[in-house]
C-alpha cells in the first residue's frame, strides 16, 4: 500500500505549497529534522524547475515501505520542453537561466536515489527517494 498526495505547480505560490506538503509528509513518516530539510529543499528545487522551465506540472509525494523500511518518493512531472543533455544539467553550475545550477545535482546528493526520464518536446519525469535510516 502506498499513499500519494500531490500539488499542481502553476504559480510561484505552488512551490511554497509543494514544499510545505513535503515537509509535513516527511515529518509524519518519521524523518528527523535534517532529512526533513533535505526533502523540503529537494522538492523546492524540483518544483521551481517545473515552474521555470516547463511552465506547469505536478509534484507528487509518495509514502513508501519495503522490508520494514519507510521512506518518501518525490515525483516531479511536467510536459515541458524536456532536457536535451541530461549529463550537462547534472553538472554543478550548469544553468540556462542564470541560476546557480545547483538544483539538479543538489537533489541527487540530498536524496538516496535519483532517476530522470526526459524526452525533448514531451516532458520530464524525475523520481527521487529518501529512506529513513
Amino acid at each position: 500500500m502506498s499513499y500519494r498526495s500531490s500539488v499542481e505547480i502553476l504559480t510561484e505560490w505552488d512551490i511554497v505549497a509543494a514544499r510545505q506538503l513535503g515537509r509535513n509528509e516527511a515529518k509524519e513518516v518519521g524523518f528527523g529534522t535534517v532529512d526533513q530539510a533535505r526533502i523540503t529543499t529537494a522538492i523546492s528545487e524540483l518544483a521551481r524547475n517545473i515552474y521555470l522551465y516547463a511552465g506547469k506540472g505536478k509534484i507528487e509525494i509518495e509514502r513508501i515501505s519495503e522490508g520494514g523500511k519507510y521512506g518518501i518518493t518525490i515525483i516531479a512531472s511536467d510536459e515541458g520542453p524536456g532536457i536535451p543533455d541530461v549529463r550537462k544539467v547534472m553538472e554543478d553550475g550548469f544553468s540556462t537561466s542564470g541560476g546557480l545550477g545547483a538544483g539538479m545535482p543538489g537533489v541527487k546528493r540530498l536524496m538516496d536515489t535519483f532517476k530522470i526520464d526526459t524526452v525533448v518536446g514531451e516532458g520530464t519525469v524525475i523520481k527521487a527517494t529518501k529512506w529513513i535510516r
Partner: protein
C-alpha cells in the same frame, strides 16, 4: 500574502530578522528593500538573522549571496546569523558554499562581530 520583511536600524547597523519561510517574491522584495534602506540610512553594517529558517534552497541562497555582494558594493558589511544545523548540512549538499561570508551563532554575537569589523 506578500508580507515585507522588517528592517530595523540600530546605530550604524541594519538588523533583519527573517521570521517566516521565504517565498521567491518576498526574497526579491527584501533584496530591494535592504539596498534602498542602506542607501537612505548610510548604514555600514547589516546583520541578517536566519534562526527560524528551516531550509534554504538554491534560489534563496542566490538571493542571499547577491544581497551580500550588493551590500558590499554599497560599502556595507553583512553578517549572517542563526543558521540551523539542518540548513548548514543541506546547503553544503546542494553544493553551495557561502564563501567569505561572515557568520555568527546568534544575533548578539553577530552584532559584536560587526562592531569589531567596523572599528577595525
Amino acid at each position: 500574502m506578500n508580507l515585507r520583511i522588517p528592517i530595523l536600524k540600530l546605530n550604524d547597523c541594519l538588523i533583519v530578522s527573517i521570521q517566516w519561510e521565504l517565498d521567491d517574491q518576498t526574497a526579491l522584495q527584501f533584496q530591494e528593500d535592504l539596498l534602498t534602506k542602506l542607501h537612505e540610512t548610510s548604514a555600514r553594517g547589516v546583520v541578517i538573522d536566519l534562526t527560524p529558517i528551516d531550509f534554504i534552497d538554491s534560489f534563496i541562497a542566490k538571493v542571499l549571496g547577491d544581497v551580500i555582494s550588493m551590500s558590499g558594493l554599497m560599502g556595507a558589511k553583512v553578517v549572517i546569523t542563526g543558521i540551523q544545523p539542518a540548513v548548514a548540512i543541506t546547503l553544503i549538499e546542494l553544493g553551495i558554499r557561502l564563501e567569505d561570508v561572515m557568520t555568527a551563532l546568534d544575533l548578539e554575537n553577530g552584532l559584536e562581530k560587526l562592531q569589531r569589523e567596523l572599528e577595525a
